[in-house]
């Protein structure tokens, strides 16, 4: 034990302190009589950590904890896991966003009605004040700047990405640093729309049915996706059985294959109820044709809102759903957080859940036809469907093996986040990350730098 941990009494009585420090430090020695079978479940552990147990319960469980190495380790991890502060850079960015964001007048009343609840415990120390304030400010900005279009209409158009927000320079700098890369044309110009192959990145959906005839694929907006329905079928670690709680059937249910989850998920889809756009089809379809930029429906303010939202989303690591369509607009796909994929055959009126087989956030998609589509996301995830229904994972060109990526020793050894994808058919596709482009001509079996 370091000197920094020693209290005054320990310094005054080093003998006993030394005795305790040496003798108590015996990993696994305190197995005790409790044993794993008597360990409390997660809720009791959490209630203990929240000081939510009564005196009798507390005494009972502390008696167990005193002799149970497993529970002590869980309590240690639980305690430590609540201490993650925002980094200095994140705090600075949140502060700048809070200082420079302007709330449109018509949204002020709606914002005031919203109750912003911070998830932090009431008894806080100084270490929680900054992240709590930062996250609350970001949440307030996100709710305030989040567009509230009429039901069923989309929000953003392609041209937003072409215009820099007229807000403070800081905001644009943050956008450059944090926003997903804007769509890239075949010529490499940073403006929408992408080439005629249903290629897209994050695609904002256009506003209103009247915009159906204009619009390239651009970054999509909408409500955050619902959670995934499919388990990752190739998950390495088996689900941990909940301690002391689950009946046998629940444990096995948790390990059931993705097929059951698909059924469950599909049952939850239905009429689009949130800001997920009806007009998406038009906008995305527009992007499929020869690229012709269209005027932003709401001009500068929409650009600002879109850019700010992406900044906050990027900082808060909340990925907005992405919508893309086939060239004939007969098939739309919507992808988003935690591996969620949905398909619509009626131009966004209804959506059907599809099994992605992954739990990573999906960040971009492209559909050369109504049967063929490519999706890319975080942690090197690349998916492809050739029948419009079933998705297969494609080997990522950036999957690390033994700490090496592409033959180079990579200290991070973390697969890239693919933020863009372009595709012309089932064999030819390009994935994009941080300005790098990798191309496949054989359906993802091999990749090469473009």
């Amino acid at each position: 034990m370091s000197d920094a941990k020693r209290s005054d009494s320990e310094r005054r009585d080093p003998t006993l302190a030394r005795l305790l420090a040496e003798a108590l430090h015996a990993p696994g020695a305190s197995g005790g009589a409790a044993g794993d079978s008597a360990c409390p479940d997660a809720e009791l552990l959490a209630a203990y950590a929240d000081q939510g147990l009564g005196a009798e319960e507390t005494a009972h469980w502390e008696s167990h904890f005193a002799g149970c190495a497993r529970c002590q380790q869980i309590l240690v991890v639980l305690t430590a896991s609540g201490e993650e502060p925002l980094t200095d850079a994140e705090l600075e960015q949140f502060g700048r966003l809070a200082a420079t964001a302007s709330i449109p007048a018509e949204r002020r009343s709606a914002r005031e009605e919203k109750k912003i609840v911070t998830p932090f415990p009431p008894r806080t120390t100084w270490r929680w004040l900054a992240p709590a304030a930062g996250i609350a400010a970001a949440a307030a900005l996100w709710f305030a700047l989040r567009p509230s279009p009429p039901r069923g209409t989309a929000v953003i158009t392609a041209e937003k990405t072409t215009a820099e927000p007229s807000a403070a320079q800081n905001e644009s700098q943050i956008a450059q640093a944090n926003a997903p890369p804007p769509p890239v044309t075949r010529q490499g110009e940073e403006q929408a729309p992408p080439p005629a192959a249903g290629n897209s990145r994050a695609v904002p959906a256009p506003r209103g049915a009247e915009k159906k005839e204009e619009q390239a694929a651009t970054q999509a907006q909408g409500a955050p996706s619902a959670p995934p329905a499919a388990l990752e079928t190739n998950r390495a670690a088996p689900p941990t059985q909940l301690q002391g709680n689950p009946p046998a059937e629940a444990s096995s249910a948790l390990k059931a294959p993705a097929a059951k989850a698909n059924g469950a998920a599909a049952a939850t889809t239905g009429t689009v109820t949130e800001a997920a756009p009806v007009g998406v089809a038009g906008g995305v379809g527009r992007g499929v044709g020869p690229g012709t930029p269209a005027a932003p429906p709401n001009g500068e303010r929409s650009v600002q809102a879109f850019a700010a939202r992406n900044q906050i989303a990027g900082l808060a690591k909340i990925a907005p759903p992405i919508v893309f369509a086939s060239p004939d607009r007969s098939a739309l796909w919507r992808v988003g957080v935690a591996g969620r994929i949905e398909r619509s055959a009626d131009q966004g009126q209804t959506w059907q859940q599809q099994a992605s087989g992954v739990t990573a956030d999906l960040l971009a998609g492209a559909a050369p036809s109504n049967k063929i589509a490519w999706v890319a996301g975080r942690a090197g995830v690349i998916l492809r469907t050739t029948d419009g229904e079933h998705w297969q994972r494609v080997a990522s060109p950036e999957r690390p093996v033994n700490g090496r990526i592409g033959g180079r020793l990579d200290s991070a050894a973390v697969a890239a986040d693919w933020t863009g994808v372009e595709a012309s058919d089932a064999l030819h596709a390009t994935v994009i990350s941080a300005g790098r482009r990798l191309v496949t001509e054989d359906g993802g079996q091999t990749w090469k730098q473009h």
Partner: protein
């Protein structure tokens, strides 16, 4: 009067059917349940009073490990629940899209942050994997309308904050995964990895008969003193000395000020020293009633503690667990 009817025509995913005793619970606590339902703001998630009542009832029926919540304490128990979190959990289990939007917006950053701390140097990808592994289990498996649909959220009853519960689940998974991996290690590797007693070993230097005579008595006295500690004090010692939490971390876990933990540790150390000295200074009686070792003089007692400053191995961790098995005397 609330009539238990958990299946509504427009409900795509009804919650679990009523459990035995729910009807009596509702009959006896109708107004309380209604008040708690309003307090929780469950309506904004589309959670009906009946559904919320069922969630309250399941939590109350689960009770503590020692005994179910007595009926006279039920009201206080229910009012102490984290009602808003419980309502959100109900809505999540129903598959409410708005509830899941709220969950992603509010809790995803928490899960990612907790995962980053938990996996440490394993990296961002591993942290995301740990956090994302919860999502499918939280969403649950089973067809819509299937009364047997199970979700991880079935095991949340509002006794803690939802955020803390999520972190506890993550912590459990992480620790159990580590422990499982450790159990697969060959025995010799495990023995090699276990840090041995600090110092040069357990053998006493040759030529020091006092040391050979006194150290075992010191060990025995210390073991007896630890066994006499209250469980709360033993836990405090383990968290601080074995798990090496800081004073601040222990304080947060216990819900007290850091200075309180420091004073508690000081008290425990003082009591241990006094108990050890008292034990060494008393005549030790053998189990069969024969007189055992003679009492040590004050000088010899100090000599014992002096030996402890040397490299002497005393497995206090084992002594704490032995004390637990023998039962606390306080």
């Amino acid at each position: 009067m609330i009539v238990p009817s958990l299946t509504r025509p427009d409900d795509p995913m009804p919650l679990h059917p009523p459990t035995a005793g729910l009807a009596e619970f509702l009959a006896a606590h109708n107004s309380l349940v209604g008040r708690l339902h309003a307090q929780a703001g469950a309506d904004r998630w589309g959670v009906s009073c009946e559904e919320f009542a069922a969630a309250l009832y399941r939590g109350a029926a689960k009770g503590s490990a020692a005994a179910p919540v007595p009926s006279e304490e039920l009201e206080a128990h229910l009012e102490a629940l984290h009602l808003e979190d419980l309502a959100l959990a109900c809505a999540l289990r129903k598959g409410s899209e708005r509830a899941w939007e709220e969950f992603v917006a509010r809790y995803r950053p928490i899960l990612y942050a907790a995962s980053r701390v938990i996996v440490g140097s394993a990296g961002e990808a591993r942290a995301r994997e740990l956090a994302d592994s919860l999502y499918a289990d939280l969403y649950g498996l089973g067809a819509a309308g299937d009364p047997q649909r199970r979700s991880l959220l079935d095991y949340f009853h509002g006794r803690s904050k939802l955020a803390t519960w999520l972190r506890a689940v993550l912590a459990q998974r992480h620790v159990d995964a580590l422990r499982s991996a450790k159990r697969l290690d060959p025995l010799e590797d495990e023995e090699a990895q276990r840090p041995g007693p600090v110092g040069r070993g357990t053998e006493t230097p040759a030529g020091d008969p006092d040391r050979a005579r006194l150290l075992p008595r010191l060990k025995q006295a210390m073991a007896g003193a630890l066994a006499a500690l209250a469980a709360s004090d033993r836990l405090l010692l383990s968290l601080y000395y074995v798990q090496e939490l800081t004073l601040a971390q222990v304080a947060r876990l216990r819900g007290v000020h850091e200075a309180t933990i420091s004073r508690q540790l000081e008290r425990i150390r003082r009591e241990l020293r006094e108990d050890v000295a008292r034990s060494l200074g008393a005549v030790r009686a053998e189990p069969d009633g024969r007189a055992g070792a003679a009492a040590l003089s004050p000088a010899e007692i100090e000599l014992c503690f002096g030996y402890a400053l040397d490299d002497w191995a005393f497995d206090l961790g084992s002594a704490l667990s032995d004390g637990l098995r023998n039962g606390s005397k306080r």
